[in-house]
Subunit: 272 residues, 2 copies
C-alpha cells in the first residue's frame, strides 16, 4: 500500500522522516511517500497556508494513495481544515487519515465530511523515547488494521472519537465541528496548566453538542506545568467533576496521549 505524508501544521524534522522511512523499508509492507511540503518552513508553519493546503489536497485526490499520515502536530491545521474538506474528490473517500494533537482539526473536519479518520501516532513521534513502537503501531494500523494497535477500551460497534482537549475546545461551534452524538469521546492533553484544563473542560462540557456523547474517557494529561499556588485538584478530578456537572458519563482512563504509547482510535469503529 502507498502511504502519503503531509504536514498541515508544523515542519517535519528530516531525521524523523529518515528514521520512519527506514522502518517502512525494513518492514517491506508499504511505500512511504513523504511530500516535500513537510520540510517547508514559513514562520510557525510547514509552509504558507496555500502550500500546506495544496499538498494535502494533492494526496487526498491521488488515486494511488491508500492512506494520508499526518507528519506532526504543533499548530496550524485549523487554518486549512475547512477548505481541505470542501468539494472532496472521490479518491479522498477511499483512503484513511491518521494523526492527533493539532491534526485533530482535520480529524474533525474530515469526520464531519464522512471520511475515515483515526487518532493515533504521527511520523514525528519517531523522535520520542521508544518512538519506533509508535511508528510500528501506526503502520500496523494503516497496513493491516491490526486490532493490537487499538485503544484497549474501545467497544465493538460503539462509535468513538479522540481529541486533544485544547484542540477540541477550539473547534467547538466552528464550521468543522463534527457530530458527537452517541460517540465515546476520548481526550488527552499536554503541557497545559491545571487551570487551563479546568477552563477547557468547562467549555467542552458546557457545549450542548458535547453533552450528546455516550461517555467520556480521559487519556494522559502530561507535562502539566506547576501551578502557583497549587491548583488544588488533579487532572482526573477536574475531568470527572465537569462530567458530573454536565451529566456526562465518565468512563475512566484511555490509553492515548502525547507519548510513544499512544494507541489508535478509529472514529468509525462500527466494524471492529
Amino acid at each position: 500500500m502507498k502511504i502519503a505524508v503531509v504536514a498541515p501544521s508544523c515542519s517535519l524534522r528530516p531525521e524523523a522522516a529518515e528514521a520512519a522511512a527506514a522502518i517502512v523499508r525494513a518492514r517491506g509492507d508499504a511505500e512511504l511517500m513523504i511530500h516535500p511540503q513537510c520540510f517547508l518552513s514559513h514562520g510557525h508553519f510547514a509552509g504558507p497556508d496555500e502550500a500546506r493546503l495544496a499538498a494535502l489536497r494533492e494526496v487526498m485526490g491521488d488515486e494511488g494513495v491508500d492512506a494520508v499520515w499526518f507528519a506532526r502536530g504543533g499548530y496550524g491545521s485549523n487554518r486549512i481544515a475547512e477548505a481541505a474538506a470542501r468539494d472532496l474528490p472521490g479518491a479522498a473517500r477511499s483512503k484513511s487519515y491518521l494523526g492527533y494533537s493539532d491534526s485533530g482539526f482535520l480529524l474533525a473536519a474530515f469526520d464531519k465530511a464522512g471520511l475515515s479518520v483515526a487518532h493515533g501516532p504521527m511520523v514525528q513521534d519517531m523522535m520520542r523515547p521508544g518512538g519506533d513502537a509508535a511508528i510500528h503501531r501506526a503502520l500496523n494500523w494503516l497496513t493491516r488494521r491490526d486490532p493490537e494497535t487499538l485503544e484497549p477500551g474501545l467497544r465493538p460497534g460503539q462509535r468513538a472519537m479522540a481529541f486533544n482537549l485544547t484542540v477540541l475546545s477550539n473547534l467547538l461551534g466552528t464550521a468543522i465541528e463534527p457530530d458527537f452524538s452517541d460517540a465515546e469521546l476520548l481526550i488527552e492533553d499536554v503541557a497545559e496548566h491545571e487551570y487551563r484544563i479546568d477552563r477547557a473542560m468547562f467549555h467542552l462540557t458546557g457545549s450542548p453538542a458535547i453533552r450528546l456523547v455516550d461517555s467520556l474517557r480521559m487519556g494522559r494529561m502530561s507535562e502539566i506545568p506547576e501551578n502557583d499556588p497549587v491548583f488544588g485538584s488533579d487532572a482526573e478530578s477536574i475531568v470527572k467533576d465537569w462530567c458530573k456537572r454536565a451529566g456526562i458519563t465518565f468512563g475512566g482512563a484511555a490509553d492515548i496521549g502525547h507519548d510513544a504509547a499512544n494507541r489508535v482510535v478509529p472514529f468509525n469503529n462500527l466494524s471492529n
Copy 2:
C-alpha cells in the same frame, strides 16, 4: 454610594485592598465594603466555589449595595457564573458590575441576564505601575459615570462589549454566552503565545454568534511570550486576518488591556 468588593476568581492581596480603601476614603464619594471572602484561599481560588458564589449572591441581593466591583481575575469565575445569574433577586438588577479578565465570564452571564455590566479596572490593579489611576478611573465610573473613563472609541447609541479573548473563546457555546448581535466587540489578552492568539481568533471568528457583531476592535495584547520559531505574524495582523476571513469589520485599536490604562466599556452603552 456603597460599592461591594467580592473575589469570584482568585484571592485579593491585602495590600491592594488597603491601598484601594485608602483612595476611597480620601475621595470621600463612596463607601467600600470589601467582603472577607476576598481573602479566602482554596487552592487556586479565593475560597471554594460555594463560598465565592455565596459572597457574590449576598452582595448582589443586598438592597444597600449600589455596585459590585470584582476584586481581581486569575481564574475561576466561570465555575460559578451560571449559578450566580440564576433566579436573580430584584436588588441584583438595580446595581452595576465592574471587572475584566477572568471576570468576563460573569460579565457575559450577567449581560445575558439583563444586568448592567462594564469591562474595566479591578481592585487588584492597584498593584500595577500607576495603578492608582486605574482605581480612580473605576471609581469615577462607578460613582458618577464620568465620560472621561470610557474607552474613547465607543460610539453613542452603539452597544459595546469587551472581553479577554481567551475567556471569550472559552465561554462560546456555553449556557452563559450572551447575545453579540450588532454589538461592537472589543478584545484584549495577556501572556498568550501568538499561536494561541491565532487559534483563539480562529475559534472566535468561526462562531456564527460572533459573526453577528457590528465590528471588532483590538485592545492591547501584552506580555506575549516568545515563539520558537518566530510565529511570522503579529497580533494585530492575526486579528485582522481572521476578521477578514469571517467577514467581520475590523474597527482598529481599543484602549483596553491588562494594564493601568485600561478604560471602561459599559456593555449597555445606549444612553451614552
